[in-house]
């Protein structure tokens, strides 16, 4: 075969391939556009029915609208999309009737099934819907997906458990994080903290249990969330963590939490910590906590802390003293006269204090 013939065949094959590819691309685009149009048509049909139902369900004569929504079967995911968009915007009875429609349509059961799908996008959508609906039926599925190999699915599972927002969902989250499986597919702490905060005081019991968890990360999260939520019954557990936990991050979290809770019963532990703790951050947090509690019994310990070798601790202790008002400010003025032993920190805080209160500086520097 001549070279020309080979080139001609190659060119023909290339041309055929290009035409084939162009055709298949055009067909794909046309299908996608058709589906998108269909999706919009379905939404245009569904939206007013849904809105009318939500506006009138209380009157008791909206059964036909409910039946229509329950029996609706679209070609696209329009229904689920519409509901998933509405649910996070609503609360109260209107939200409950929407979830009831989902249940009666079988959408919740379908979503639970879809959490087993081999396709990550389906698992993701399913767990998002279970979370948006906030149904307890979603806890098992979302708990299982915390160990998913896909990061987005794992994070969606964390969010879902936070949205479900019960003690059981918080327990599922904390127990998973404390398991060996969590080491294989890690979850960053921030979304976990947000999910637990969203759960609120319903998470108190699992959070208190989590103070004894094996995982340092879980113990740290538990201390921080208990403090932010203001769970006073957890004070004793937090004091133990602050005193004995081998991890500095847990001791730090517990110290922050005790400062937020500001219980006078924590003063002894906090002042003892100033004598024994080696970590600068924890020491500074202990000073801040004592400043928040503002028990005069802690003034001598804070005065000593103002002379700490590390500047972070010195400033934190001086700021804590300033928080006591006249008593602490008087001590700071005395310390400010020194050249060493915390004089610098005292002067800095006194200067800040005079700016904050917009008065004449309390001392001449």
């Amino acid at each position: 075969m001549s070279t020309e013939a080979v080139l001609l065949i190659a060119a023909t094959v290339n041309l055929a391939l290009i035409i084939g590819l162009s055709l298949s691309t055009a067909v794909f685009k046309a299908r996608r556009e058709r589906r998108s149009r269909r999706h919009e048509e379905e939404l245009a049909l569904l939206r007013p029915v849904m809105m009318r139902y939500l506006a009138t369900w209380e009157d008791g004569d909206a059964h036909d609208l409910a039946d229509m929504l329950i029996g609706y079967h679209g070609v696209t995911t329009s229904f689920e999309e519409l509901v998933a968009g509405l649910l996070p915007k609503l609360r109260g009875a209107d939200r409950s009737v929407l979830v009831d429609i989902l249940r009666r349509r079988g959408t919740i059961d379908e979503a639970r099934q879809s959490t087993h799908s081999r396709w990550p996008v389906r698992r993701y959508r399913a767990v998002e819907l279970l979370g948006a609906a906030g149904v307890s039926e979603g806890i098992e599925a979302a708990g299982r997906l915390l160990g998913d190999r896909n990061t987005d699915v794992r994070l969606a599972a964390v969010r879902a458990l936070g949205r479900i927002g019960t003690g059981e969902s918080a327990a599922a989250l904390l127990e998973h994080l404390d398991s060996e499986e969590a080491q294989k597919h890690p979850i960053p702490p921030h979304p976990v903290t947000m999910a637990l905060l969203r759960t609120g005081t319903d998470a108190t019991e699992p959070l208190t249990r989590a103070l004894e968890a094996d995982s340092v990360e879980v113990r740290t999260i538990a201390t921080e969330v208990l403090g932010v939520l203001g769970v006073y019954p957890a004070v004793a557990g937090l004091q133990i963590r602050m005193r004995v936990d081998p991890s500095a991050s847990v001791r730090l979290g517990a110290t922050h939490a005790l400062g937020r809770l500001s219980m006078p019963g924590s003063v002894d532990d906090l002042t003892a910590m100033l004598r024994t703790e080696l970590e600068v951050e924890v020491l500074a947090a202990a000073c801040t906590a004592l400043g928040r509690i503002a028990d005069p019994a802690s003034v001598p310990e804070l005065e000593q802390a103002v002379a700490h070798p590390h500047p972070t601790v010195r400033v934190a202790a001086a700021m804590a003293l300033a928080a006591f008002g006249d008593i602490g400010l008087g001590r700071l003025r005395e310390i400010a006269q020194r050249d060493a032993e915390g004089g610098d920190a005292a002067r800095e805080v006194l200067a800040r204090n005079s700016i904050a209160t917009q008065t004449t500086p309390l001392i001449s520097l």
């Binding site: 939206r47 007013p48 809105m51 009318r52 939500l54 506006a55 009138t56 209380e58 009157d59 968009g85 509405l86 996070p88 915007k89 609503l90 609360r91 109260g92 009875a93 209107d94 939200r95």
Partner: protein
């Protein structure tokens, strides 16, 4: 029958409130941004305004401040419906002249009751 202007850039919320408040017997005008909302308020002179805070073109706070500047509209009750949930946000809403403040996610039933209360307190 009262007239209500709803200004919210979220089409779901606009749609829901249009249906809900219409079903309760009110005449509802809905707009999607602050500028259009202010124009609608000036045009309709409604009995109550439901205002989102964060919107394109003009925020709900700016719309409310504009209303309070105009003596002919200064007494129109304004209810903020917003996701801004901090204590300082609520304070800012009232300081701008808001008469009530509802945080999203919200209960349409509760919102409806609050609107009724505003209408009862401010007969026009």
């Amino acid at each position: 029958m009262s007239s209500i202007v709803v200004v919210d850039d979220d089409s779901d919320i606009r749609g829901l409130l249009e249906f809900k408040l219409s079903a309760a017997g009110h005449t509802v005008t809905a707009e999607a941004d602050g500028e259009a909302g202010l124009a609608a308020i000036m045009d309709v002179r409604p009995d109550v305004v439901v205002l989102d805070w964060m919107m394109p073109r003009m925020s709900g706070i700016e719309v409310c401040l504009e209303l309070r500047k105009d003596p002919s509209m200064a007494d129109i009750p304004v209810l903020f419906l917003t996701a801004k949930a901090q204590e300082s946000d609520v304070q800012r809403g009232f300081a701008a002249g808001g008469n009530d403040y509802v945080i999203k996610p919200f209960s349409p039933r509760e919102l409806s009751s609050r609107i009724d209360a505003l209408l009862a307190r401010n007969p026009r």
